[in-house]
C-alpha cells in the first residue's frame, strides 16, 4: 500500500479546517485511508540516523497516510484534498478539460520505429501557464515518484519525464539509438556523458541503479530529442539537465513512455488532472499530437469520461441497504462519481472521471456507494445459508492422531516447510538429486532453497536448538512434505507425514518402535503380514533405494527416504498390508553430528495418507 506523506498544516489549510489527530484518523478510516503515522522530518531522521543528525531538521508535523493501491488519484496532497472535499460535499468535483490547439500550433511527438523493440509507447501533454510554489513543486516531483513506484512498476511499465517547455522546441522525436550515439548532460550533472557512461555513473546511485536493468542489455536505448537535437530524456533512466523544471517554470511538457499503453495513459491523466489546478485556466490541459511509426496520429491526454448505468436495486441488494435512487446517486457523487437518476428512477447514470481508472465494473461502483453510506452503518445480518459441515478426512485423522501422540508422551513441534538443500540431502547422507525435491528459484537465503521432503530435519533442528532441555526429548510432527510429481497439474504433490524422534543417552529404539505399535493400534492395524503391519530390516546397501508412496488414483510415485540416514543394521522399513509406508531406526552418528547433536537418537517417519 503506497504511503503519502503530507504536511499537516498544509493539508488542513487546503481542507479549510483543522482536525485533531484522532478526528483525522476517523475521517481516513471512513474513507478507506489509514493515518499510518504522525511524524516530522526531524523525527524521521532522528529515528534513522540518530538524534545528532536530526539537529536543525524541520519539525513541521507530517501525516503519513496509507492509500489503497488502486487509488492513484489520492497519491498527492492535491488529490487527497480533492477526494476528501468532494466526499464531505464541500466542493464539486472539477471537470478536467483538454484544449486542442489550432492546427500546427500545438506540440507534436513523433515516435520512430526503433522504439518498438524496447519501449513502444509514448503519450504527452502540456500544462500551460502553471504557477509553482516550493510546496507545489515538491508535490509534483513526489507524485511522479509515487506513480513510478506503484502503477509504473518501478518504471518498467511507464516512465515519466517533465520538462520546461520554454527551454526546448518541438516537434519532439521519441526514438532509440545505440548507447554510443546518445550524449547529453543528465539532470543535475555538470558535464555531458554518453549513454554508456551514464549507465556507469548511476551504477552506484542508490536510487537510479534499480532502473538500469530495464534497458542495459538492449542494443538501443530509448531517447527523446527536440527539433534542435537537445535530449529531453533517456527513459526510463534520467532526464536531460537542459530542460529541467524549476519553480519559475511556466509551461510544462510531460511525456510518459512505456511498455503498457493503458498504464501510460492513466499515468498521464493522473498527473495533468492533479496539477492543472495550478494552471492559469484551472483544470485545463493542452493536448499533444502523437504520431506513430505507421503515420497515424492520436491526441493526448485522453482525459476520457466514461458513462455507466447501474440499477439502484443492484446497489441495495449487494449491500443489504434500502436507499432511494436519488440518495444513492448522491452517495456516488460524493465518491467523485457524478451520478444522477434516469429513466423514472429505474437507473442511475454514473460518470466515471479520468482519475478513477480503478472503476472497471459495477461492483466498483457498488463499493463506492458503500463507502459513502458508511460501512459501519450497514446492518449486520447472519446469512441463512444452510449447510452441513464436513472435515477433510486427512485433516480429521491428523487431528485425532496428534492428540494420541501427545498422550503417548511426545511433544508436538511445528517446523518450517522450507529448508536448505543441505538439510534434506547432505546432512542425511544422500544426494539432493535423489530427494525429488521442489526447488525455489529466488530464495533470499539458503534457508529457503527447497520444500522439505522429510520432516526429520526440522525435528532434529528443534532438538539442536533445545539442547539445554532435560532429557529425554520426545518430539513429533504431523505435517506436509512436498515432492515433484509430473502427474499432478502443478507438477508437485504434498504428502502428510508423521515423524517422531527420541533423543537421549541411549538410542531408545524400543521406544520409537513402541510408538509405532501404538500408532498402528490406534489405526486398528494388527501386527501381522497379511492384513496388518510388519517391519523388516532394510538392505545393508541403501543405494538407489526408494519406497513407494501410494497415490489416490492408482498411480504410484516414488519418494526417497534413504536408509543412509540410519545406523547400519538399525533401520527397518514399515510395511502395511504389503505396502511400504515409511521407516524407523536409530539415526546414523554422522547425521547426529551434522545436526550438531551429541546423543543417540531414534526416529520414525511414515506417510499417513494410506490410513485415511
Amino acid at each position: 500500500m503506497p504511503t503519502v506523506s503530507v504536511k499537516r498544516d498544509l493539508l488542513f489549510q487546503a481542507l479549510g479546517r483543522s482536525y485533531t489527530d484522532e478526528e483525522f484518523n476517523d475521517l481516513c478510516f471512513e474513507f478507506g485511508l489509514e493515518l499510518d503515522e504522525v511524524t516530522s522530518e526531524k523525527d524521521i531522521i532522528s529515528k534513522e540516523k540518530g538524534e545528532e543528525k536530526a539537529e536543525g531538521a524541520s519539525e513541521t508535523v507530517l501525516y503519513k497516510i496509507d492509500v489503497p493501491a488502486n487509488r492513484y488519484d489520492l497519491l498527492c496532497l492535491e488529490g487527497l484534498v480533492r477526494g476528501l472535499q468532494v466526499f464531505k460535499e464541500r466542493i464539486n468535483l472539477p471537470r478536467y478539460e483538454k484544449i486542442i490547439p489550432a492546427k500546427d500550433e500545438g506540440q507534436k511527438l513523433i515516435i520512430t520505429e526503433e522504439t518498438v523493440k524496447i519501449r513502444p509507447h509514448a503519450v504527452a501533454a502540456v500544462l500551460r501557464n502553471i504557477t509553482f510554489t516550493k510546496e507545489r513543486y515538491d508535490s509534483f516531483i513526489d507524485l511522479q515518484e509515487k506513480l513510478h513506484q506503484n502503477i509504473c512498476r518501478r518504471r518498467a511499465l511507464v516512465a515519466i519525464g517533465t520538462h520546461d517547455l520554454d527551454t526546448i522546441s518541438g516537434p519532439f522525436t521519441f526514438t532509440a539509438k545505440a548507447p554510443s550515439e546518445i550524449k547529453f548532460k543528465p539532470l543535475n550533472q555538470s558535464q555531458e556523458y554518453t549513454a554508456s557512461q551514464i549507465m556507469d555513473l548511476y551504477r552506484t546511485d542508490s536510487h537510479l541503479r534499480h532502473y538500469l536493468h530495464l534497458i542495459e542489455n538492449k542494443p538501443r536505448y530509448p531517447v527523446i530529442f527536440d527539433s534542435n537535437g537537445v535530449v529531453l530524456s533517456m527513459p526510463p533512466i534520467i532526464n536531460g539537465d537542459h530542460s529541467k523544471i524549476s519553480l519559475n517554470t511556466r509551461n510544462v511538457f510531460i511525456e510518459c513512455t512505456g511498455t503498457d499503453m493503458t498504464k501510460a495513459k492513466i499515468v498521464l491523466d493522473i498527473i495533468v488532472a492533479m496539477f492543472s489546478e495550478y494552471c492559469e485556466k484551472q483544470f485545463t490541459v493542452e493536448a499533444v499530437e502523437v504520431t506513430y511509426p505507421n503515420g497515424k496520429t492520436h491526441i493526448y491526454p485522453e482525459l476520457a469520461y466514461r458513462k455507466d448505468k447501474v440499477k439502484p436495486e443492484l446497489i441495495n441488494k449487494k449491500l443489504g441497504i434500502s436507499e432511494t435512487p436519488s440518495s444513492l446517486a448522491k452517495l456516488l457523487t460524493r465518491m467523485c462519481l457524478n451520478s444522477h437518476v434516469i429513466g423514472n428512477g429505474n437507473n442511475i447514470e454514473i460518470e466515471i472521471p479520468p482519475t478513477r481508472a480503478d472503476v472497471i465494473h459495477a461492483c466498483d461502483i457498488v463499493e463506492d456507494a458503500a463507502i459513502a453510506y458508511g460501512y459501519n452503518n450497514i446492518q449486520m445480518v447472519i446469512p441463512k445459508t444452510y449447510t452441513i459441515a464436513n472435515q477433510l478426512p486427512l485433516n480429521k485423522l491428523t487431528e485425532l492422531l496428534r492428540l494420541d501422540l501427545a498422550a503417548a508422551g511426545f511433544t508436538e513441534a511445528l517446523t518450517f516447510a522450507l529448508c536448505s538443500m543441505e538439510d534434506i540431502a547432505d546432512k542425511l547422507g544422500m544426494d539432493v538429486s535423489a530427494t525429488n525435491a521442489v526447488h525455489i528459484a529466488n530464495p533470499k537465503t539458503a534457508e529457503f532453497q527447497v520444500a522439505r521432503t522429510t520432516l526429520l530435519p526440522g525435528l532434529l533442528k528443534t532438538i539442536a536448538a533445545n539442547r539445554k532441555m532435560p532429557l529425554p526429548l520426545k518430539l513429533f510432527e504431523i505435517s506436509d512434505i512436498v515432492v515433484k510429481d509430473p502427474t499432478k497439474d502443478v507438477g508437485a504433490k504434498n504428502y502428510r507425514r508423521l515423524c517422531a524422534i527420541y533423543y537421549n543417552k541411549s538410542p531408545g529404539f524400543e521406544i520409537i518402535h513402541g510408538l509405532l505399535d501404538r500408532v498402528m493400534q490406534l489405526l486398528e492395524v494388527p501386527p501381522n503380514e497379511e492384513n496388518g503391519y510388519t517391519i523388516k530390516a532394510t538392505e545393508a546397501e541403501p543405494e538407489a533405494e526408494t519406497y513407494w508412496l501410494p497415490v489416490q488414483h492408482g498411480v504410484h510415485y516414488t519418494a526417497t527416504m534413504k536408509s543412509s540416514a540410519f545406523f547400519p543394521g538399525r533401520c527397518a522399513e514399515i510395511f502395511v498390508r504389503g505396502q511400504s509406508v515409511g521407516k524407523l531406526g536409530v539415526l546414523h552418528p554422522d547425521v547426529i553430528t551434522k545436526f550438531e547433536l551429541t546423543m543417540p537418537c531414534s526416529a520414525l517417519e511414515i506417510n499417513i495418507e494410506p490410513f485415511v
Partner: protein
C-alpha cells in the same frame, strides 16, 4: 508405641531405604545461607521411603523454578531407558543424601532441655555448633529435621553480620600492609622518586618517596588483626569501609537459628508416619499412628506427558469454530501452485506487484505447471485483457507463460478458487460454506512479526443474494467466537474482492483499533469465468493464524512461536486454548 528414640527411628528407616534411601533434603538450605534468593528446599516431612514420587521435587520451589528442578531430576536420569524406571532412579540420585549423625539432633535436644523455658530461653545455632564442636551446617540439618517433626522445637532465623579477612587481607596480616612494606624497602637516606616508583607497592605513593621518619605503625595490619581476633566490631565504621574498599575485609551475612523449646518439646522424638502403607491398611495400625503434616503450599509432581504446540491448539479451535458454524473444510494440500490459480484466476493482473520476485517464491523445478484448465483459462485471459461480464478488464496483453509459472502459494485463496471452480462444475448450484487453515509462503523480509511462511485462515460462503451486511454479520459471529466482539470495518483494496473491508477490533490492552482480518465480496470477473451463476455472490475473509495466537499467548516475536528455534519449555507450559474465555 509411636515414640521412638531418634536413633531407633533412623535405624528403622534406613532398613527400608534400599531402593529409595532415606534422604534429608532440608540441607539445601545450607548453601543458601549466605545468599538468600536461591530456592530453598526444606521440610523433610514428606520425604520418606514410602513416597519416592514426592521426594522427587524440592518442595518449597515456587512455580517459576519448576523447570529448573525438573532439569535436575531428568538431567540425572540419563542412564534410564524407560520412563517409569526413570522416576525411581532419579530419586536415587537427585538429592545426595547427607549423612547426619542421629546424635546431633539428640545432642541439640539435650542442650535445649537445659535452657530456661519462655521466650527468653533458647540457643543460638552458631554458639551451639561451636559448643558441640560441629559444623554449623550439620547443626542446621538437625534443626530442620526436628522442625519437621512438629512442635518439638521452634526455630527462628536470624541474620548476623560478621567481618572476615579476604585472602589479600590475610596476606597483609601476615606480611604487613603494602605501604609499610614499601616504607621498609626505602633506605634510610631516601630514594629518587623515579626509582621509588619501581618498587613493589609504589602505586600507593601519592607524592614523593622520602623516608623522613625512622619507624611507622602499621595501622592496617593492626586493624586486620583485631578483625581476625573477632573484634571486628571495635573498628570504626570508616576504618571498616576503607578496608572493605581495599578488598582486605569482607562483610559476611550469616543466617543462624534461635532455637527454643516447642510446645511438644521432648528429648525423645515421636516418630510420625509419613504416609499410609498397604500394611497399615491391612493391619489397621493407621488408627493409632501419628502422621506427619503435608506441605500443601508446595507444588505437586508434574505428570509425564506430551504437549501440543500452541499454534496448532489455536488451529484446532479455529477448525472447531468453523465446524460449529457449518463450514466444510477445503483441500489445501498443495504448497506448490501455478501462477494461474494463485493470481490469474483471482483476477490479479500479471503486472501486479505481488507477482514480483520480491514478494513471491517462484520455483526453479518444477518451474512450470504442466496442466492448466484450457477453456477456463481462455475465459480468464479474455476478462483480463479485454474485459467482459460487465467489466472493462485490465486491457493488457495477458501471457500464458506468466500463468504457467509455478510458485509456493502466497495465500490459500488459490485453494478457494479451485474449490469454487469445482463447485461451478458440479452441475446444479448448491450453496456452500467453506473454510481452510494451512500454510502460505511469502518471499518477504523477515522481522519480529513476519516469517517466510505462515498459516492463513480463510472462510468462504457462496449463496444467492449475499450482501455486504451478510459478510459483516458472519464476521461478527466468527470473531465473537474468537473472543473478539468489538469490530469495525474499513474500506480497503484487494484485487479479487469488491467491496473489500479490513476488519478492525478494539484492543483493550493497546487502547486502539488493530487490524484482525481482511474480507470482501469476490469480483464477478473472478466468479463468472468459472461458470458460477450470475445470481451467486461469494463472500470471504482471511486472517493469519499466528497473529491471534501471539495475542492469545502473549508472544511478541513470531520466531518464539514457530519453527525449530522455539523453546520447548514454551510448548510444555502453554495453557489450554480457550479463545472466548
Amino acid at each position: 508405641m509411636g515414640v521412638l528414640s531418634w536413633q531407633e527411628a533412623q535405624g528403622s528407616l534406613t532398613a527400608k531405604g534400599e531402593r529409595e534411601p532415606r534422604r534429608i533434603v532440608g540441607l539445601g538450605i545450607m548453601s543458601s545461607e549466605i545468599k538468600a534468593p536461591r530456592p530453598m528446599t526444606s521440610l523433610i516431612g514428606l520425604i520418606t521411603s514410602q513416597s519416592p514420587r514426592i521426594a522427587l521435587r524440592p518442595h518449597s520451589l515456587r512455580r517459576p523454578e519448576r523447570g529448573s528442578s525438573r532439569r535436575t531430576q531428568d538431567g540425572a536420569a540419563h542412564s534410564s531407558s524407560s520412563a517409569e524406571k526413570e522416576h525411581f532412579r532419579v530419586t536415587a540420585v537427585a538429592f545426595p543424601a547427607v549423612a547426619m549423625s542421629p546424635s546431633v539432633a539428640e545432642l541439640l535436644l539435650q542442650r535445649l532441655e537445659r535452657t530456661p523455658p519462655g521466650p527468653e530461653g533458647g540457643l543460638c545455632s552458631l554458639e551451639a555448633a561451636t559448643a558441640l564442636g560441629l559444623d554449623h551446617q550439620t547443626l542446621v540439618g538437625a534443626v530442620k529435621s526436628l522442625q519437621a517433626l512438629g512442635k518439638v522445637i521452634e526455630a527462628e532465623t536470624r541474620a548476623t553480620t560478621r567481618w572476615e579477612l579476604s585472602a589479600e587481607g590475610a596476606e597483609v596480616l601476615r606480611d604487613g600492609s603494602p605501604e609499610v612494606r614499601l616504607f621498609h624497602s626505602v633506605p634510610t637516606e631516601g630514594l629518587l622518586q623515579s626509582d621509588a616508583m619501581k618498587l613493589p607497592g609504589a602505586q600507593a605513593l601519592t607524592h614523593r618517596a622520602v623516608r623522613q621518619v625512622d619507624a611507622v605503625q602499621d595501622t592496617v595490619q593492626n586493624s586486620l588483626r583485631q578483625v581476625q581476633e573477632g573484634n571486628g566490631n571495635s573498628l570504626s565504621e570508616r576504618e571498616r569501609t576503607d578496608l572493605k574498599k581495599r578488598k582486605l575485609l569482607l562483610e559476611v551475612t550469616l543466617k543462624s537459628y534461635w532455637i527454643r523449646k516447642g510446645s511438644a518439646f521432648s528429648t525423645a522424638v515421636v516418630r510420625q508416619e509419613t504416609d499410609l502403607t498397604p500394611e497399615m491398611i491391612a493391619t489397621g495400625s493407621w488408627r493409632k499412628l501419628p502422621f506427619k503434616a503435608y506441605n500443601f503450599s508446595a507444588l505437586g509432581l508434574p505428570p509425564t506427558c506430551g504437549h501440543l504446540h500452541p499454534l496448532l491448539k489455536v488451529r484446532s479451535q479455529l477448525r472447531q469454530i468453523f465446524l460449529e458454524m457449518g463450514f466444510t473444510e477445503m483441500p489445501t494440500d498443495n504448497f506448490v501452485e501455478s501462477s494461474f490459480w494463485n493470481f490469474d484466476a483471482l483476477f490479479q493482473p500479471q503486472q501486479h506487484p505481488a507477482r514480483d520476485q520480491h514478494d513471491t517464491f517462484f520455483l526453479q523445478d518444477p518451474a512450470e505447471a504442466p496442466e492448466l484448465p484450457t477453456s477456463y483459462m481462455a475465459r480468464v485471459k479474455k476478462v483480463h485483457s479485454q474485459g467482459g461480464y460487465g467489466s472493462q478488464g485490465y486491457k493488457y496483453e495477458w501471457k500464458v507463460e506468466e500463468a504457467r509459472k509455478n510458485l509456493l502459494r502466497t495465500h490459500t485463496t488459490s485453494a478457494s478458487a479451485r474449490a469454487l471452480y469445482h463447485l461451478a462444475h458440479q452441475g446444479k448450484f448448491t450453496p456452500v460454506k467453506y473454510f481452510s487453515i494451512d500454510r502460505v509462503f511469502r518471499n518477504e523480509s523477515l522481522d519480529a512479526t513476519h516469517l517466510a511462511e505462515f498459516h492463513q485462515v480463510e472462510g468462504v460462503v457462496a449463496d444467492r443474494g449475499l450482501t455486504l451486511g451478510h459478510l459483516m454479520g458472519i464476521l461478527h459471529q466468527f470473531f465473537t467466537k474468537l473472543g473478539i466482539s468489538k469490530l469495525r470495518f474499513k474500506p480497503a483494496y484487494n484485487p479479487y474482492t469488491e467491496p473489500s473491508m479490513e476488519v478492525f477490533s478494539y484492543h483493550e490492552g493497546l487502547k486502539k483499533w488493530v487490524e484482525v482480518g481482511n474480507s470482501g465480496v469476490f469480483r464477478p470477473e473472478l466468479l463468472l469465468p468459472m461458470g458460477l451463476p450470475e445470481s451467486v455472490s461469494v463472500i470471504a475473509w482471511g486472517l493469519s493464524l499466528e497473529r491471534p495466537t501471539m495475542i492469545k499467548y502473549g508472544i511478541n516475536n513470531i520466531r518464539e512461536l514457530v519453527g525449530h528455534r522455539v523453546n520447548l519449555q514454551m510448548i510444555y507450559d502453554s495453557p489450554l486454548c480457550r479463545l472466548d474465555a
